[in-house]
Symmetry: C2
Subunit: 597 residues, 2 copies
């Protein structure tokens, strides 16, 4: 297994040099998050991920979770690691101090989550789902619910889940069948089956708090008739737990990857539940935390891509095979290390360009999350909310698709050894493969971006973002080194608006045009977004080099990777643009039954 080493240099580059998190934290009143404090947290977090989580990643995959009579046992070391995580205060890092949290910025929490998932994606699911439940209760719970549940979730004594999917529906939550019948005491009896429930049952915590979507007896049909309920595994009693609730784990799934994450079938047999938020507004409650969760899911692409890259670079330097086409580079050895071969470098640089570009995208977006949560200015908050709404589906889908490409390349660098489980490279592919699927498939993200966000706002959300790029290009149009790249970005930025208009016009006549264009439109958008971020990074690196500041090799590498991105990855926009412009006819003309011919 590639040993994970947290990329602290690259993290610091983004937060200190590119996005100036310290200024942002100060402006947002996050006074605890001083540069020293942030540095200490990152280093301590890195240590935990490298030393505790990374070593149990491979073994967790081989052991998988075990189910027996409703009891789920996690792989060796998982429970202990969770205890250490809680003990270290990591669970409540970005949580509300009113309920026991440390109140640090969400962006910092996300960076810690990045390290956690890079080291051990399966393990990351347990705190990850808990954070989702915490957000929901924080946003929609009553004060009593917060005191009862949020404090214990923050403490890490209890963990949480999100129970949405049912056997017959995932994307289409309007047709869920789980029922909630009001009881005399104000609670509800919840009955139904939920599937794909991550961390639905396990042995890490005293109690598990399920957030369950269900329908009231008189609920309107469709998505407007869904309510959200808190259904704890054990009913709370005093400071701890009381009676066991009528919720149980019927089985766990056997999956392609994230095998140490318990994916549960949860049976609710008249379980006691408590309404959270307004009746029939359950889906809205879910949506309020979607941006955060989807950004987190998007980051999995980055996390596993990073882990894979680290393994691939080490291997490419160690493995001796063939001579360089330009003559031996290690004449004293039987062959040259494979990093001398251009095609191996193509793979490594593709991974590197995606990872570092995706990290920039994630951190830029996380900064907007902080602003949306904390800014005093309503205008700033709205601007940040708009950027978040626009960038979230791109983060989720582009980062997971490119992350999957990265993990596949990392495996390819290993040749036949990449296919052998022992090396750990293929696990990263399998663990990553769920990310383009869950938390809304990438196809759904694409519809969200193009249909709901871009066209649904009459282009306003797109313009809010392309305006940033436009201003950047204007300001840097004469940059002595990056003039050509700036011009290319400006050209694509303008094309982006024009392409959107074309699709919008076509969609007015035929709504299928949106679905036909969506996925390629999203990928196209992602490549342009990363081009902007790569230039922003390159400008900083160039300025540091000019000023003779800091580690010149690091900055030179940034410049070279940016160069690679513009020359070899950005041209993919052309294929996506053509696919968008192809329209829906070539997809819709065939009757469904012809597909099987």
């Amino acid at each position: 297994m590639p040993e994970y080493k947290a990329p602290l240099r690259d993290i610091r580059f983004l937060i200190d040099e590119v996005f100036d998190y310290p200024a942002s934290y100060a402006a947002l009143g996050a006074s605890d998050a001083t540069p020293d404090m942030v540095a200490a947290i990152l280093e301590e977090g890195a240590r935990f991920c490298e030393q505790v989580l990374s070593p149990i990643n491979r073994s967790g995959d081989e052991e998988e979770c075990q189910w027996r009579d409703g009891v789920v046992t996690t792989p060796k070391g998982f429970k202990e690691a969770f205890a250490q995580y809680v003990e270290g205060g990591w669970n409540g890092l970005a949580a509300d101090p009113a309920y026991g949290g440390q109140g640090l910025p969400h962006s910092l929490g996300l960076i810690i989550s990045e390290m956690v998932a890079s080291a051990n994606q399966s393990w990351a699911m347990y705190p990850g789902l808990t954070h989702g439940a915490m957000s929901a209760i924080h946003a929609h719970g009553t004060e009593e619910q917060k005191q009862t549940y949020l404090t214990r979730l923050t403490e890490g004594r209890w963990t949480g889940t999100m129970c949405l999917t049912e056997p017959h529906c995932g994307t289409d939550l309007g047709i869920i069948k789980t029922r909630a019948v009001p009881q005399a005491d104000g609670s509800y009896a919840i009955s139904g089956t939920k599937i794909f429930i991550s961390a639905g049952e396990h042995d890490m915590s005293e109690n598990i708090v399920h957030l369950v979507l269900a329908k009231l007896p008189d609920a309107p049909a469709g998505t407007k008739g869904i309510s959200l309920f808190i259904v704890p595994k054990f009913l709370p009693a005093g400071e701890g737990i009381g009676e066991r609730n009528a919720v149980s784990c019927g089985s766990i799934e056997h999956k392609m990857g994230i095998k140490a994450s318990a994916t549960c079938v949860m049976n609710f047999d008249g379980a006691t539940g408590f309404l959270i938020g307004e009746a029939n507004k359950g889906l809205n409650c879910m949506f309020t935390m979607m941006n955060h969760a989807r950004l987190g899911t998007g980051m999995q692409g980055l996390c596993l891509g990073e882990a894979s890259y680290q393994g691939a670079v080490r291997y490419a330097n160690d493995r001796l095979q063939m001579r360089a086409l330009t003559g031996p580079k290690a004449p004293d050895k039987p062959a040259d290390p494979i990093i001398v071969h251009p095609d191996v470098r193509r793979m490594l640089l593709t991974m590197k360009a995606f990872n570092e570009g995706n990290r920039a995208l994630a951190y830029f977006t996380a900064q907007q999350l902080d602003i949306a949560h904390r800014s005093d200015s309503a205008e700033q908050r709205e601007e940040a909310e708009n950027l978040l709404a626009f960038l979230t589906p791109i983060c989720k889908a582009f980062m997971t698709d490119s992350g999957l490409e990265a993990t596949n390349l990392g495996m390819q660098v290993f040749g036949g050894h990449g296919y052998i489980r022992e090396w750990g490279m293929e696990q990263l592919v399998r663990d990553c493969r769920i990310a383009p699927i869950y938390e809304g498939t990438n196809g759904i993200q694409a519809l969200d971006l193009l249909g709901r966000k871009v066209l649904g706002s009459q282009g306003k959300l797109l313009r809010g973002f392309t305006k940033l790029i436009h201003k950047f290009c204007q300001a840097q149009a004469e940059h002595p080194r990056f003039k050509a790249q700036v011009a290319e970005l400006a050209r694509l930025n303008q094309q982006w608006g024009e392409l959107t208009q074309k699709v919008g016009m076509a969609a007015m006549k035929n709504p299928d045009e949106v679905g036909a264009a969506a996925l390629d439109y999203l990928m196209y958008s992602g490549y342009i977004t990363l081009a902007w971020l790569w230039l922003r990074m390159a400008l900083v690196a160039e300025a540091k080099l000019q000023a003779g500041e800091g580690d010149s090799a690091y900055y030179q590498t940034k410049l070279a990777t940016c160069d690679f991105y513009f020359k070899r990855l950005l041209p993919r926009t052309e294929a996506h643009r053509a696919a968008v412009e192809a329209g829906s006819d070539c997809l819709m003309q065939l009757p469904a039954e012809n597909f099987a011919l």
Copy 2:
């Protein structure tokens, strides 16, 4: 698991209507391969694959092969299926009648192999490797070796392997360490360790015949000092087996996929071996069968893509989720089948366009294989050999990369269920993932295409192929329906030559330009090649429709898929072209140590 149904209609379309195999077989004197006989063989082969091999595919993946004290047990049903396969005469279908084979054309053998691998890729490895060993012995063995080994391999009583890779070398066979010491009796004592040996040990056959690359004591360094040896598990005795040889299976690998294929570490401890072919010419012996083996490996992309497509189409018609954007299509149901959604169709059509295009590429190439083997005309044979040399790396790499994309899309169509092992869709991804790696990684194929084949022949091999396309485009330039597509193909065909010239010029100054361009050049070539084949298929379909012959829905579907290919997949050439033109600087400028920064 998606139940495999052999796509006989599509197979017949290609062999009867597009490539006219009957005429080709007649011209090549393959008089046994009458249309009736071919039809009967295909139907019987389909039945075997559907009823015997497909049902043990999922269970084989879950059981995996088991190793204990050097003995390997294959999953339940594997041994029995092999007995049925041998009993049915499938093993010797395309083998030389002089040694017990049926002497049918190789192209027909490849179609049967396609069905076998589509139904069960792991199982397909056992006869697949046997066929490889048979080819080698047929081409290079003495008459005595053929009588001893080839007859029993053809009979299916014995199976074969190819032992090339060692722990420290795969691509770079020049540095192998396995040694062959001449013995007084004319045999050799073989010592060394080989890894990744498919079918190296198992319980299906009485004996296993290893073809082993090793070095003689006085061998020159590098690839010119490698010899090939026959090393049987049991030494032959009379009509059967005698003494056990000093070769043993040290362990089997735990892999990402093809888990029911035994991938063995083979230890040779002074085992008795027999030289096959000339001393120090072992690599040449291997190369003579590379085209065949690489075409077969390329077909795995098609096979697993086809299996995945079949599952995905069924699911897309069954699964109800959301309403069509243009209004309900199944108003009596709670939601519409997901095949109404344009993005689901995009995924299905991408798979379909790759699968059917790849099948056309494979069958066209297989036809050249027949000509190269059987034609009376030296000129025809040379032309076929040249086409084979050129197309083989494209088949291997393009078909496996696009096949991997197809299996990933098939899994994506299933949403969360695609990630669950029970459904079998993720297995197809895992089983496919080895194909871009083994039998020469796709990076090596790309170097073979651009460096060895195209530039190495001063463009001759490329021109031999683009000439075919050029003639086709000239002939169809005014086609009333396909004029635009023909023009687009002609444009790309010309660009292909120009692009090649550019790379060739650059490579004269800097050999790294070849490696830098190779992979994208290969993919670019693959897309253009498939465009030609798609147009050829479309022309046939159009002609049949015009003539009112046959199944119009089938032909309409061909036309629609061709349309999709040109509009949505062929534009990817643009991204690959740009990457090729980017040159090597953006790959090579960084010192190796900077990659880890």
